[in-house]
């Protein structure tokens, strides 16, 4: 059956073909055709992924070798795809959610001119291609190609409306912050090559290779890789690009900045889990970074008024959760949360997109309200998404979040405490968002109210499908306390994390403790939920501006300003110094000075060329004299 897995190469190639067709034919293709091509190639990839997934589920994992990418002396980097449990799961998420978002986009982007429409789909397909390459690559270099590719597509799509300067600035910010992380990734890869001479996952994770690495090596490599992950997955200190990335079209935010690309860091760490398990220092760093990001982003989300900004900070916060999961060794939990988060966050973003669409581009929640009766499907699916992210049982978020929190408690109760606090804040800001948007009275203009309508089927269908997934998606990971053998995801992923499992001591919590933990987090979240529901369904525009601590939160802890003050401004003034002093005075001075010196020298030498024959003869005689002296006496 291994031959069947040889078709794996078609999965990324199909979106690439879509990219080429849409990209090269953007001037001739009609909107319908380019939308159809863009969506259908991803659908085909999804079907192939499904097939591959079933094969993998039957225990048919495989590394497909295609050709040698780099082949110099002892270093051989193959262009290989690794098809195993982890990558096949990610394939499903990427192509599945990706397909729904493509379908959604055909309607959402319908007002764009045909040329831009095709360009949009070309970028989207290129993104899917890069993401698939990232996930399927069987070594760090192929992964890095995909890693860079998704960064590029993210840049292109954030700056999709490139005529707006703020948007291109946001795109540049995302790109540059990602590059900082990418440098860490690249250094880690070089470190691996210098120590082991290979970057292939199978060879690096083999027991005999791991023996060659000292603790310093592993800690250094994993920390550098984690730096790459903080860039891509928007963790402290490189998270500020993600909220700004909301400048892109909403489906892009859903696909790239919620469901797929930002989870690349988690995928990469889960893929290299054995390295991380062997580096407890790095794990502690990851856990602390993750929880700090989670709580910081959640606190910021509470006071944001832009519907997409709330979701963006929520994404950062949830990504923080996933890193906590990785940091405490709950790799399955982290991957589980990636999956459920992909469902409900994509749902929420698409729902927000539907709202924005109905509101005619309005994103400020203060001008919304009472949309419940105008947009029934959007409202219902959005509510389900909010319940899922708030961790209400039995929605999917409950299971995955609970798993991470339980593992965090076993590792360190403080982590758990902060995690629960974040969960409560999550419930609060999500229902603040829900209340301000769907409940109460409409606060926008009459024109907008007149325009309000439910979105077309191409938008609502993906919402419904994602809502179903967000509700039942958690059932693949029912914890042990509820049902023995209920955690089918863990069983499925077991081979991937087997090496790590073998060297970590197993924390087991008593069932009573686990019930208690669940009760605390669910109870807390429920209280916050009801409080927010109650308070924000009566929200009116007259509410005072946030002050004091709330103002600090509303201004995002002034992190952007801090970065500006300590990094951007000094760099700018340094650049200014180089531009004004070094460039203009020194370099230009040298260049112009050379010219001036030659000019001046020539001007002086010109007096020798008097044109007077006598002067020439005199000089000739003197020259002869000198020559004779040299010849005869020296």
């Amino acid at each position: 059956m291994s031959n069947v897995l040889q078709i794996a190469w078609l999965i990324p190639i199909l979106p690439l073909v879509g990219f080429i067709i849409n990209g090269s034919g953007r001037n001739v293709l009609s909107k319908g055709v380019s939308g159809f091509i863009g969506s259908s190639v991803v659908l085909a990839s999804f079907l192939l992924s499904l097939y591959v997934f079933i094969q993998v589920k039957n225990g048919n994992t495989h590394v497909a070798h295609y050709f040698n990418f780099i082949n110099i002396e002892t270093l051989r980097i193959a262009f290989d795809f690794k098809i195993d449990q982890l990558s096949s799961l990610f394939l499903l998420i990427i192509t599945g959610v990706g397909f729904l978002i493509h379908v959604y986009s055909t309607s959402y982007m319908h007002d764009e001119p045909a040329k831009d429409f095709a360009k949009y789909f070309a970028y989207l397909n290129l993104f899917v291609f890069s993401m698939l390459l990232l996930v399927m690559g069987a070594n760090y270099v192929i992964m890095f190609i995909g890693w860079e590719g998704v960064g590029l597509c993210s840049y292109l799509l954030i700056g999709y409306w490139f005529k707006n300067n703020n948007y291109t600035d946001a795109a540049k910010k995302a790109f540059i912050m990602n590059r900082i992380g990418d440098l860490g990734f690249l250094l880690a890869v070089f470190w691996l090559i210098s120590k082991l001479g290979t970057v292939s996952f199978d060879e690096v994770f083999a027991a005999e290779s791991l023996k060659k690495l000292t603790t310093t090596d592993i800690t250094g490599i994993t920390l550098l890789l984690f730096l790459g992950a903080t860039g891509k997955s928007a963790q402290i200190p490189l998270y500020t690009w993600l909220p700004d990335a909301m400048a892109g079209p909403t489906p892009v935010s859903a696909l790239i900045h919620a469901a797929t690309m930002v989870t690349a860091g988690i995928y990469m760490i889960a893929r290299s889990n054995i390295l991380y398990t062997m580096a407890p220092v790095t794990l502690a760093v990851i856990a602390i970074t993750g929880i700090a990001t989670a709580v910081l982003a959640a606190s910021i989300a509470i006071y944001q008024n832009d519907i997409k900004k709330v979701l963006a900070y929520s994404t950062v916060s949830q990504l923080g959760y996933m890193f906590v999961g990785l940091g405490v060794g709950a790799y399955t939990g982290a991957v589980f949360h990636v999956m459920t988060h992909a469902f409900f966050k994509a749902l929420l973003f698409l729902g927000a997109g539907s709202v924005i669409h109905a509101m005619g581009g309005e994103q400020d929640m203060r001008n919304m309200g009472g949309l419940k009766k105008h947009m029934k499907i959007t409202h219902l699916t959005f509510l389900l998404g909010c319940l899922a992210i708030a961790g209400m049982p039995p929605f999917s978020g409950f299971f995955s979040k609970d798993e991470i929190l339980a593992a965090a408690y076993a590792n360190n109760p403080v982590l758990w405490g902060v995690g629960v606090f974040t969960a409560i804040m999550t419930a609060f800001y999500m229902f603040r968002l829900y209340g301000m948007t769907f409940l109460g009275k409409f606060r926008g203009t009459h024109e907008q109210e007149h325009h309000l309508h439910e979105s077309p089927a191409a938008i609502t269908m993906p919402l419904v499908i994602l809502a179903i997934l967000a509700v039942i998606g958690g059932l693949v990971g029912i914890p042990e306390v509820f049902m023995h053998g209920g955690h089918r995801l863990e069983t499925f992923l077991e081979p991937v994390f087997a090496q790590s499992k073998a060297i970590t001591e197993k924390h087991t919590l008593s069932h009573a403790t686990e019930y208690m933990l669940m009760a605390v987090s669910v109870g807390g979240a429920l209280v916050a939920l009801l409080f927010a529901w109650n308070r924000y369904s009566k929200y009116s525009k007259t509410e005072s501006e946030p002050a004091g601590f709330a103002k600090l939160l509303a201004n995002k802890w002034y992190v952007d300003e801090l970065y500006n003050a300590i990094i951007v401004s000094p760099l700018k003034s340094l650049a200014g110094f180089f531009n004004n002093i070094i460039e203009k005075k020194v370099i230009d001075g040298v260049v112009n000075g050379t010219g001036k010196a030659v000019n001046y020298g020539s001007r002086q030498l010109r007096y020798l060329q008097s044109g007077q024959v006598g002067a020439y003869v005199l000089l000739m005689v003197i020259g002869m004299l000198v020559l004779f002296i040299i010849q005869l006496f020296l």
Partner: protein
Amino acid sequence: MNITTILFILLSAMAAGSAIMMLLNKNPVKSILWLIVVFFAISGHYVLLNAQFLAVVNIIVYAGAIMVLFLFVVMLMNLNADSEPAKNYRLHLIGVISGGSLLLVLVSALMKMEMQQPVQMKIGDAGLIANLGRTLFTDYVVPFEISSVLFLSAMVGAVVIGKKD
């Protein structure tokens, strides 16, 4: 000190002295006349070296033809007057010093040489008309003929340049 040496010194003094006189004289005609004296002195040297042919040719060509040409030019164009305005003496000084130091350098280099080579005086048939004529019309007949072409072209050139317009 025999007669040859006395003659040599006399002729040398005459040549150098006349050359200096030629330089110092402001009047071009007088300068030309002094130069003719120099050429005569040099012809005397040729006679002393028993280069009879060259001695004669020197007088005919130089002192005769060329210098007469000079005189014609000066007199026909009425350049006889002192045409040189008062000159910058610093430039004179520079010219004399640089020329003088050139002479000094060459002479002192010559004096450093430990060389004693006598010159055949008053005897020897190398400079006789018969020998030179034979060599000129056998070994050097081609350059000799070419030199006539040179003369022709110089003549044409002089006519072209000297034409009124």
